[in-house]
Subunit: 208 residues, 2 copies
Amino acid sequence: MADRRGVITVISGFSGTGKGTLMRELMSRYDNYTLSVSMTTREPRAGEVDGRDYFFTTDENFEKMVEEGKFIEHAGYCGHYYGTPRDFVYKRLDEGYDVLLEIEVQGALQVKEKCPDALLLFVTPPSAEELKKRLEGRGTEAPDVIKERLERAKEESKYIDRYDYLLINDDLDRCTEEMHSIIQAAHAAPGRNTELIKTIIDSLYTIH
Amino acid sequence: MADRRGVITVISGFSGTGKGTLMRELMSRYDNYTLSVSMTTREPRAGEVDGRDYFFTTDENFEKMVEEGKFIEHAGYCGHYYGTPRDFVYKRLDEGYDVLLEIEVQGALQVKEKCPDALLLFVTPPSAEELKKRLEGRGTEAPDVIKERLERAKEESKYIDRYDYLLINDDLDRCTEEMHSIIQAAHAAPGRNTELIKTIIDSLYTIH
């Protein structure tokens, strides 16, 4: 086990906000981060590697794992299951990695319920105008796709205040550094330093 | 009023932890910080300037201000009153400054009660051994002084988990940067961005 346990960090945000780019940038700059790997019951696609892109499994095994409480969040989508395996994430945290999970709002709230010390970050574009531009894409999107994105963003926006932090993605460099600061600051919460606090208190009572 | 309202940051910690040095270092590196100025009923000492070192006032005026709820924390010490004036701090916050308050534990908890979005930082030495060394001073302190510091530290240590963050002052440079990260991260909490969230939600509902 590492000196310092990692922090589970959940990243959500409106479609097109650049969450993936941010996470890649963060990982390229600092070596304390790692991505969570989801488990799914869908078939592997060409080039996908088991244990890297996903853990692939059967419906039967997935359902058994759900019953055993082995996911920190899971959902069904298009007839397949997707979930974040607890053991995999916890092993990484014990190794000292800050584990990044990109999940939508409902999954994020599941994680917070099961792991109250998870850090929830919501990424948004810098302004309403920019949000609109990104929702509409490059003008090549079909109207029903834009409508769907907008409806989804409306739904997601109701939950922003359930998140610990709101990140404005106006500039990749600035936003990456802010994200890093926020996650590193989380390591200093007393709840993540109970051993250290205990050591300090004990030492105060044993000094002569 | 500034673009971004400041964060009230309360700094507490065991005697000899270097809180003052940390705060001076933080202010010399970044220009978004300012110190709170306390009000007191004691006489000015030589060289002290009203409005810079303290706001000096009468017992009568102090007591009137207490009744009117004009302090975010106050206490009596050696026959004099000391308090943090709300209006002064709020003006600085509105100007965009992150306001630093060095206060002991009971005062810190008063601030948290009156200003729930205040950020509470507790600074400790890096280890039990180092704490002991600092409590004992340079070996020139009288035994009763050491004993008093130890008793006070024991009392303070009970409240560490009421703080938002625990800062280990092992290295001035590292600790200053960590403190800066923590305070800047606090700006990204949804509770400090209600206007922005409202703007985003409104814009989602008015896009056609």
